[in-house]
């Protein structure tokens, strides 16, 4: 069996890539994908910990996370469409009338 630590290191790497993607990339769609990567990194860690101890709690949480992530992205895409209709761009830096 692959040691749990390997999974956790992979999940930490995925999480870091996700956070950097959210902070650095400017296209809203790519930012959404990075958020998904963060959530799935957490899912991987949960499943790995749960598998190690043959405990189901972590795996149950993962099912809820997958469902919630789908709902969240639906709302995010709807907001993006609303922005795109008025601004004709998916670049998050262009959406900045509120400042100060």
């Amino acid at each position: 069996m692959v040691p749990t630590a390997y999974y956790i290191i992979l999940s930490a790497a995925l999480f870091t890539i996700g956070v950097l993607g959210v902070l650095i990339r400017r296209n809203a769609i790519v930012v959404f994908m990075s958020v998904e990567l963060m959530l799935n990194a957490a899912n991987l860690a949960l499943v790995a910990f749960a598998r190690e101890r043959l405990n189901v709690d972590g795996q149950v949480l993962v099912f809820f996370v997958i469902t919630v992530a789908a709902a969240e992205v639906a709302v995010g895409l709807a907001l993006l469409v609303a922005i795109f209709r008025t601004k004709n761009t998916a670049d998050v830096d262009e959406v900045s009338t509120l400042k100060g």
């Binding site: 809203a28 930012v31 919630v68 709302v75 995010g76 907001l79």
Partner: protein, 544 residues
């Protein structure tokens, strides 16, 4: 185990969800006309149904809490007394009136903390729906009100969650409707932008929160030897217990705690996780701004308190300057310091009244963090005082900010803008509204005898007892700084000449909501013991 008798304990949440479905259904199943009059009628019916429903839920929750009246044991049984008795046996005092029941399947505590938070949150939702009475949501008004109700149910669950799965789901049930509400006027560029920013930061924060939870769960799982048959590893109390047994998970647990603080830190908008707050508060429809800045923040604080105190008690540490500095209390003290400085200084140069209040809300979160720092105090009594101070501050802040943003909404509807210049000469154009707004602003600034003064006083006491006098000194200094920008608002209201001399008309719903909020501030300011007696019962919380 979940038992049928647990249903009354969940009654406020169930009622909120039923009411939300009722509001949605009443709009869908009615055949509405296409004329403007029919549209207006449609908005009115959803709005008044929400208002009346929330008022009823609040009364039922108050009855269940037993804070104003507890049915004596020797009353003869009839239908009416039986209903009240069943209701109150599901309340925080339990069936006997003395002992708090353990959390439902270990996941949802119905103790005094949850009950007080529920009352504050449902009250905030009620005032918000009053503020929205005269707002015109577009094509489908029922969605707007149903989303407020769903978010309120989520906040109530957040306040009582003692388990990671429920905590995560409650955070999302609160956040997702609020993203939609912030961007609800999607043809208005400012509102759409606010929704987008709120969503992006919110999604980032829930990812961070979830990662923190996975690490906390992992450290609990690792601390167990061999295969785990019991399925309670996501319960906060269990995580704390397993962390106490030591093992290799110490570093992982600390990392998880940091991620949890960062994730919830976004929800309560403390520096450095506040980037979204001013933009979202300014861009969102004003009643929704009031709701996000009060109820969402209050629920976030209660959740943070529960998570830190129940799951990470061993990592509390100390906030006193010296060799013992460490743990989450010192981290919160640092966040409070940053929040107080950045929030108050950034509010100084603002020209938009709404954005000024947004920065002031950020700064207020700093004062509330001070009450959480009280957990560093060695005496349990001082910790309980800190929790009571936090709850008092939350209730007062909720009322005050709802009143202030509500008054701004009324001005914006009448004048057409929410700049400070739009408040010019308000006292000459609409004296009652000017007086109400002034009372709210003075309470935010902490001027006696309004409730804001006592809220700050108790919080400073809590910080002092926690051994962090340096933080209290900074907080006092920033309070003085904050007077400057609050007085700028008052100067515009009373001294500046108005652009026009015509009297303003304000919608009755908003006026009623603001008046209710201000009445609350004045009463709580004059008689703080009314609620403090109730808040000090929180020390009876199971597992806290």
């Amino acid at each position: 185990m979940f038992q049928i008798t647990d249903i009354p304990r969940l009654l406020p949440e169930i009622l909120l969800l039923v009411l939300a479905l009722l509001v949605l259904g009443s709009d869908i199943f009615e055949r509405w006309g296409r004329t403007p009059e029919a549209q207006l009628e449609r908005v009115r019916s959803s709005a008044s149904l929400t208002c009346i429903g929330l008022g009823l839920v609040f009364v039922i929750a108050l009855l269940q809490s037993g804070y104003v009246f507890r049915l004596p044991d020797d009353v003869p049984a009839n239908l009416f007394t039986n209903i009240i008795r069943n209701l109150q046996s599901g309340g925080p005092a339990g069936p006997t009136g003395a002992e708090t029941l353990p959390p439902i399947i270990g996941a949802f505590a119905t103790d005094h903390l949850t009950m007080i938070a529920r009352l504050a949150l449902i009250g905030a939702a009620f005032l918000t729906s009053l503020l929205c009475l005269d707002y015109r949501p577009n094509a489908h008004p029922a969605e707007f009100y149903a989303l407020i109700l769903f978010a309120t149910a989520g906040m109530c669950l957040m306040a009582g969650a003692t388990e990671l799965v429920l905590a995560y789901l409650a955070v999302e049930l609160t956040s997702i409707p609020l993203y939609i509400l912030a961007g609800y006027f999607r043809n208005d560029a400012r509102s759409a932008e606010a929704g987008m920013k709120y969503f992006l930061f919110g999604a980032l924060s829930s990812g961070i929160l979830l990662y923190g939870m996975s690490l906390a769960y992992g450290s609990a799982a690792s601390a167990m030897a061999g295969a785990v048959t019991a399925n309670d590893l996501t319960q906060l109390a269990r995580i704390a217990e397993l962390a106490g047994q030591g093992g290799a998970g110490g570093g992982v647990l600390t990392l998880g705690m940091l991620f949890v603080i960062a994730g919830v830190g976004y929800k309560i908008a403390v520096v450095p996780f506040h980037g979204w707050a001013p933009d979202v508060y300014q861009g969102a429809p004003t009643p929704i701004t009031a709701f996000i800045s009060t109820a969402s923040k209050a629920a976030g604080f209660v959740l943070l308190l529960r998570l830190l105190v129940s799951a990470f008690p061993a990592l509390a540490g100390s906030a006193a300057l010296g060799p013992d500095l460490g743990g989450w209390t010192s981290l919160l003290a640092l966040l409070a310091l940053l929040t107080l400085l950045v929030g108050n200084l950034a509010a100084l140069p603002q020209t938009s009244a709404k954005r000024l209040l947004a920065w002031s809300s950020v700064a207020q979160a700093g004062f509330m963090l001070l009450a959480l720092v009280a957990w560093a105090a060695p005496q349990q009594f001082d910790r309980d005082q800190g929790v009571a101070a936090l709850l008092y501050y939350l209730v007062v802040y909720t009322l005050t900010n709802l009143g202030a943003f509500g008054a701004l909404a009324a001005v914006a509807l009448a004048v057409g803008g929410d700049e400070i210049a739009d408040l010019n000469g308000l006292a000459r154009r609409h004296l009652p509204l000017a007086v109400l707004l002034t009372l709210c602003v003075l309470s935010l600034a902490g001027v006696p005898p309004l409730a804001g003064f006592f809220a700050k006083f108790y919080v400073f006491m809590a910080g002092w007892q926690a051994g962090a006098p340096w933080l209290v000194v900074v907080a006092l200094a920033t309070t003085v700084v904050s007077l400057y920008y609050y007085l700028r608002l008052l100067k515009a209201i009373f001294i500046e000449p108005p652009a026009e001399n015509t009297p303003l008309t304000t919608p009755p719903g908003i006026t009623a909501a603001v008046a209710l909020a201000v009445a609350g501030i004045v009463v709580l300011g004059l008689f703080p013991n009314l609620v403090l007696n109730v808040f000090s019962r929180v020390q009876l919380v199971a597992g806290l």
